[in-house]
Amino acid sequence: MRYHPLTIFFKLYQLIKNSFFIIIILYVIQGRSDFWLYEYGRYAFIVFIILRILYITVSWWKETYQWDKQAFHLKKGVFVRNFSTIPFNKIQNVTRQTTLFHKILRFTSVSFETAMDGADDTIKFDVVTKKHAAFLTDLVQKGEADDLEETENKFELEDKVESVKAKNEGKIIHFEPTKRELWKASFTSLSFLAIIPITAGLYDYVEPFLPKLEGFAESFFQSKWLIFLLSVIAVIIAVSFGVIRTFTRFGKYKISSNERYIYIDRGILSESNFAIEKRKVQGLQMRQTFMKRLFGLTEVTLISSASPGANDDSVNVNSLYPFLPISQAYALIEQLLPEYQLKTKMSRLPRKALFVKLLRPSYVWLIATGLLFYFKPKPFDLDITWWIYSLVLLGIIVLQRTLDYVHTKYRIDEDQVQWWQGGLTTQMFVTKRQRVIEISTSQSLLQKIFGATTLQMMNRSTPVQIETIVDVPVTVARFYQQWYQERNKEMN
């Protein structure tokens, strides 16, 4: 089967969107320049565009896809033909994105992310009808279910397929942000600050066209209350801008699940729907920036072995709501993934770990101080000697490390490991023993003096997720190794 013909249109749209800046530079800003780079560049660019358009059209004609009960069969490439078969059970998560483009035309896009090596590890349908997208998703999920059943008792198969179907239908909604939460999110995300670079950029563009009213401008800036008024207006604009931004991004947010899948739906203008099978979640990460800690909020991310393609939107699609109140986050995790039991009682670092942290040489500080000593900069015409900056930096580093000491907590027991750490921004990581693909412990000379070690673990993801916890007592390292070697208990 061929991809939908609108795919051509979509790819052209993307081509224009991506080369927009080049077009502006070549034909508008440097439009009259006869510097050879621009002059030939203009011709080369036209040739490139024509070739690209030809390629897009031909590849639409040549590239096809098919499916059967268990796999997708794809034909790719124009010059180098490439046939691949991707079984449904290799698909880790499904993301459906409906951008403004899709919305206007009433279409959508679906991608099936796999965790195989190689460049073409996502099966992407750039433009599909909603009906076909739903069909493909169903197909994949059913294929996965069949795979699941095969490994179990054959006698009850029919029963089970029925029950899987029934369970798939019963979606439970776990979270939808309230108005109050959105307001809170608007302020914690500090997204209203985003207006500063935008206005600055805009001003640069507009400045040449502004009428030169020197006398007026001077008297204007001399009156203090006018400046005050202007700042107030600027703040109001900035805040409302931030609020609108947050509302459009996180307004329609829905986390739901059924027996087998977790669904994250979000977005108003451009929508995205993310689905991951519960047993394919490799671990959980909770991140708290300084601002979020002040408000008691956190962001929970599901670690999946296939990374959902980094999209133009800066929010990860696999993140549960980025502004969850802590207690709600814990409850949500336990509802979504009952196999994870988050513990609040965790071990702290011994006092001597603080010494290790403070005594560890900071290369950032050493290099920065070296550079400061050499250049002796005086930024913003401030009359401050260079070593003051060095001291301030040292202060920040000491604070960061002390906070890290305070925040570090860990718990390794039964089949689960959970640790918190970090200075200004803290993070927690939880995973199951069977999900850890490799561990290591290490000890530097400094750590040896104080009997401290570093633990590290690796989880499947793209690229692999490496988590470390620094300066835990030696006994914990031994226990950790032993604990990991008992992982066969879960592997049976």
Binding site: E438, I439, T441, K448, M458, R460, V464, Q481, Q485
Partner: protein, 162 residues
Amino acid sequence: MNDIKLEHKLAADMPKVRIISETIGNIIGFIVLAILLGADVYFEWPVWIGWILYGLIVFTVLGTIWAFIEPKYLYRSWSYQIDEDYLQLTYGVLKREWVTVPMTKIQSVSTSQGPILRKYHLRTIKVETMGSSHEIPALDEPVALEVREKIAISAKLKEVDE
């Protein structure tokens, strides 16, 4: 943590081999630096290039001295263990490492041999997993082949698991 000893050690010739290969590397390093220094004087390059070169010379001299001390201790620190389920490695002079890799996660195992290793009939084993790669340097040839076989079998047998 420094008292951990796993079942097997590297080949006894390992320090010798390492000193030879490090020395060759350092000699080449010195030659390159000497040429650069000569060019620096001859072409009158900017001052800071000279500084960097002197800095590099100091590092190379220190590195060369270290290259004669380290191998003996590195040899003593190295040990590895292979059983049905795990590959374990521990090594490191200044910083001690202890790595545990489940057999099921190993994706490939290979042996390699450079000219110096060949002279002493040694081989290096390289193990790759989904996200990392590890080396057991300098094993006696028959041992190396046996180890490779063992890892290959254990890793493959468990493939059915996942």
